[in-house]
Amino acid sequence: MTDVQKPPMRDWETDFDHTHADYADRAPEIWDHLRAKCPVAHTDRFGGAWLPTRHEDVAAIAHDTEHFTSESVIVSDFRPEGLAPAGFAPPITSDPPFHGKARRLLLPAFSPKVIDRWEPATRETCRQLLDAVVEAAGGDGGVVDAAALYSQNIPVRIIAKMLGVPEEDGDRFRLFIHRILEAPGSGLAADLEYEDTLDYYLHKVVDDHRENPRDDLVGFLLDAEMDGEPLTGDHIGGTIALLLIAGIDTTWSAIGASLWHLAQHPDDRRRLVEEPKVLTFAVEEFLRFYAPVTMARLVAEEVEVGGECMQPRDWVLLPFPSANRDPEAFDHADEFVIDRARNRHVAFGLGIHRCIGSNLARLELTVAIDEWMRRIPDFELSDPEAVRWSTGQVRGPRELPIRVLRTQEVSA
């Protein structure tokens, strides 16, 4: 990787760097600090970027598609020009009115009733992975990396099945994701062979589906129409890229963070085992407290947010996890309440760009935790210091050493 050396950070208020290892380690603490001291932080890095941390400001920006554009949603040194209204990966990078049409054609494929059909495959995937986890632990007391052996594999396998690409391509997806989300800009490095790029991969997937048409998401996109015309090649490739990138490390992060929490909270584990009905609420509280995704916008027209004047082409981060911990918006915002009954969390964003895969993410998270708890009801962190959190705009544990304390057989 070509991660460049950056100057040291002065402070979080005026010089923040969300790609710094400190941010990965203690983002919730940093958001709490900023929300109280400097609710709209700024940095000159990345050519100028803002970090609002209050629910109110994050919600206002997410709902304002006039002053903010989604032309790019990943903050990096590279600022795209001239990609509106479609952007690189429609519809997440699209603005109205193009956005509405590009989103509408995808929505039926991600509706809850369609997504629910993937529950048996998700359960089967989790059970297979858990067999491998238990085997790797080699008995009670054994240690496994729950990120490498469990959480990171679930969304990869399901999205591969949905798209109709080989599951073995999963390692490649994770490399693309690292370049785009965790080390933004490194994917542009000139030293990459074309065969190693996402662009090459997308063309290969589309060509394969054109030669062998089949009933999966890629086939659906090849048949789809917008304004009575087939989608352009760029639109199809961009949407596949979106489904690959947005659908994988986000959910993997949520599953990992939930296991990280449960490993440290025996009372919450016991509650899930004794009262299975609590899981519905627990999943939403995991999503609130450990929301993995921070989105971003570019300022389209000068606008004031929280007393700060933002200029056209400034970056603006939308840290939904920080909004979820704002005491103005949530009772006992800093406490994890496993059966929280009032929970308007914004883990999936707000407004017209609400995560299109939210039903899939919720299914995967629910099944992943349910199956883990049935098979491994007791576990703990074997070395809390060894847990490594990702940097950038998607936050979750990338290394998660867990000591398995008790396992049980699961009857189907």
């Binding site: 929505l107 039926p108 991600f110 809850p112 929970n343 308007r344 017209i352 609400r354 939210s358």
Partner: protein, 64 residues
């Protein structure tokens, strides 16, 4: 108790129909549909309140 859904505000988060399946349904695109019109039957009031309290877009209003 009456319940009102603001379709302009609904973005299809799906919290209402997962928590209150007797009060809300989903359309083919995942947006919420109200299954009750006018008065909420007493046995569904708790579900209705739960749906309103969990809508991220504040699209559901309960009127006493």
């Amino acid at each position: 108790m009456r319940i009102v859904l603001d379709n302009e505000k609904c973005q299809g988060h799906g919290r209402c129909y997962s928590l209150a399946a007797d009060v809300f349904d989903s359309d083919d695109e995942g947006y919420a549909l109200l299954k009750v019109t006018g008065e909420v039957p007493p046995e569904l009031e708790e579900q209705a309140r739960l749906a309103a309290d969990n809508c991220p877009e504040y699209a559901i209003e309960i009127q006493p």
